[in-house]
Symmetry: C2
Subunit: 461 residues, 2 copies
């Protein structure tokens, strides 16, 4: 019996230590959240990005303004060094307002509210006119083949409204937008209409990138609203001949130099090891890029601000990276990964916020299989601290900009806010600051900061 | 050894049954959610209530329109009997647009954007003018006492922005609005200004009820915006004399007859036992009462629609109750409880949705202590079915309208959606349909329907 006494004492001692640490951490997480809600800067930064700068395609004058503004704001933060990292981005311009006019038996019956897709080709000044063929998949286009020659191909497979996770529904429908126009072009189609990517039935067109590979000349490729898609489908079932006239003046202008914007707080113990938090600074040209992805940028910046607010000195270097050109080529993400690889910089963790500034729900994690199980187990040990804030963890993807870091054996994390409203705004003129709730945005920043703090304090092994 | 074989067999058999039941239930919950997202009616009902009917104070013409509309819509549903239940409601009218004009050293410096509180008194036509005294609590008013005679008392204790749960912050600040004006009146104050109940700093006044008990003559009681509250506080710290002129023409008109609207689907096994789902049909007169509480009403109605959609025949009677007069007296809730008590109608469960049409997060439950533990344990056994939809359970309050049923030994449930945006809209002109997301609203209805289905199928014992 007596032998067990020291063991019990040790056990009790260890409980005390663990409990004390946990209480201490809980206190720190509470301070992080309070600082975010009382003194956060994210919403005012985002207001500037969305409303003063506005939509900011990679390479555009607005993207340059956004680079200058975020660089200055990071530079103003105590204990933060700001710098810019060169990258190469393809530049595309929308040109004049695009038009799609629907004719039946030769008479105009409707002009649609449309938006050319990124990398859409241009028409001649008077546009291109042809009859419309509705399809629901890329396979169907292959089946129809050269019957699509000199037609306008209309992709109309909806995002499944019954899918609980809008991002899953997007993943299952977006091939039409990304690969559909090039596929149609290969069979001689003269233009392409694509149903907007949203589960809603509404009157707002959603743009987004489409890809014309080398060797395929771009054709005009246009997003139409979901309500117009339903309407057009009904028109096409009538016996009347239905044509569209499509007018675009989009232009791809080649590759230009741009920058990722970086702010970092130097580690006090292992400054060569990085914990990265990032979002992407470019956005589509319509709207203000508020949720996509101004929110992710200002949350990354806010992590540094909140660490200052609570007076925390990190062991590792905490680096906020605002990536350029996520929307159409990942020029910034590639440049960052190339640099990290060439300097052999170890990224213990990289966290991306690119799912909107909504109420935080948790984190999705991935890593090289060699390290994933250990890291994920360690991260899960913090759940009792995170669950009071409504945060959970799951295995899954992280983010497009940090993806190339995966081979470097760090933990990759995707921040996961509530997803239900994202496709109300995604790539539309409505992605503006008035559709962002300040508390939700700040709680997201606090959630990410909490995870950064725990990774920094305890590591992942 | 052989003796254990039948036991093992029994165990395996029971596992199979349980597993099969669970799979079956999971399938039903999935169907409920799909029906809500694909064929739900809640959003179109709510659009009508918020935009066609608009704000609907108990006893107002709009409240009568809302009664007629929801009665008709319930009556149209298959397998649903609609009826109305009489209740008595106090009627109050805002009258002409209220005004608060701030003067410093006799000169007008600002007219505030304000909203009289429900049951505010009226001024003479030219209003009342007096100097302003800022206070932060009812206790402070007691301390100042008759020093407040012929003053305007300005309650300015904020809702704590750092409180993670906005409803908690509301609970800790709303005494100023509900009891503050009467308290000030008792010391001779001639009017009362109250900082709006929101954690935001913004430019939207929030109304809400204030109570003048018998024997206290109502004084004008006015909500001012949080930004104006901050501004006014700054002005009052200056040496200059700061006065306000307050003009209101509000009027309490006495008690009138109104109705709860009820739709019920008869139980096939125990029709005398009720599972109630409810919201309140009245709202403040400004805005459209979309989140508060049109959302709860249409979700209650949607439960009946979704049970039809999936072809479920309930064992117990499922009753949707749209309560009248939650905002200023609970006339409908009291009439309902009186009737339930006098007819000794057993309510196995009553679920109230009155926290907005936001993404569902779970349910808060309470009951008489004699039954609570058993019921709550049973409800928690369904968590594996509900968690995939992001739903959890907690012990806590349910809802104001169903509260009086507590003594009758049923389970009382408060539906809990994400709370962060609620006080952007609560009791304001912005509580309109464009601030409700259709998917979030429908997912809430599906969550409630799922719980109703499980209670109906398995009971609570």
């Amino acid at each position: 019996m007596w032998k067990s006494i020291p063991l019990i004492a040790l056990f009790l001692l260890s409980c005390t230590i663990t409990r004390a640490q946990t209480d201490d951490d809980a206190f720190v997480l509470k301070r992080i959240h309070t600082a975010a809600l009382e003194n956060g800067k994210a919403y005012s930064w985002l207001t500037y990005l969305s409303e003063e700068v506005g939509g900011r395609l990679a390479g555009s004058p607005q993207s340059k303004q956004a680079i200058a503004y975020t660089f200055d704001e990071l530079d103003k933060l105590d204990n933060v060094a700001a710098w810019k990292q060169k990258c190469t981005v393809p530049v595309w311009e929308r040109g004049d307002k695009e038009q799609v006019i629907i004719r039946q038996n030769g008479n105009i019956i409707k002009e649609l509210d449309v938006l050319a897709l990124g990398y859409s080709g241009a028409t001649k000044r008077r546009g291109v006119q042809a009859s419309i063929v509705e399809v629901h998949s890329l396979d169907e286009v292959d089946t129809l083949g050269y019957a699509l020659d000199r037609k306008i191909v209309f992709y109309n497979r909806p995002m499944d409204p019954a899918d609980l996770i809008p991002f899953h529904a997007y993943g299952k429908a977006v091939d039409q937008r990304v690969y559909g126009p090039a596929k149609a072009a290969n069979y001689g189609a003269v233009a392409c209409l694509v149903r907007s990517m949203t589960q809603n039935l509404d009157d707002v067109p959603h743009t987004g990138v489409t890809i014309f590979p080398e060797g395929t000349d771009p054709i005009p490729a246009i997003a139409i609203t979901t309500n117009d898609a339903e309407w057009l489908s009904t028109q096409l079932r009538k016996k009347s001949r239905t044509d569209a006239t499509v007018i675009t003046s989009c232009k791809a202008k080649g590759n230009f130099k741009s920058y990722n914007v970086i702010g970092e707080m130097m580690g006090t113990v292992s400054p060569d090891t990085i914990i990265l938090i990032g979002g992407h600074l470019d956005s589509w040209d319509v709207g203000g890029g508020a949720h996509d992805d101004g929110a992710g940028c200002v949350q990354a910046m806010e992590v540094l601000n909140l660490l200052n607010e609570i007076g925390y000195k990190p062991r590792y270097t905490i680096r906020a990276v605002l990536f350029m050109n996520e929307e159409s080529g990942l020029g910034g993400g590639k440049a960052y990964a190339d640099s990290a690889r060439s300097t052999q910089t170890f990224h213990l963790a990289a966290i991306e916020s690119d799912a909107g500034g909504f109420t935080p729900r948790g984190f999705s994690m991935e890593a090289d299989p060699e390290v994933f199980t250990r890291y994920y187990r360690k991260a899960n040990s913090w759940l009792p601290l995170l669950e009071p804030y409504g945060l959970s963890m799951s295995q899954g993807g992280s983010g497009a900009d940090i993806g190339p870091l995966k081979s470097m054996k760090g933990l990759l994390v995707g921040f996961r806010p509530d997803p239900q409203r994202y496709f109300d705004f995604h790539h539309t003129r409505n992605d503006r600051i008035h559709n962002v709730n300040e508390r939700e945005l700040e709680l997201g920043a606090a959630a990410i900061t909490s995870l950064v703090y725990l990774i920094d304090k305890y590591g992942l092994e």
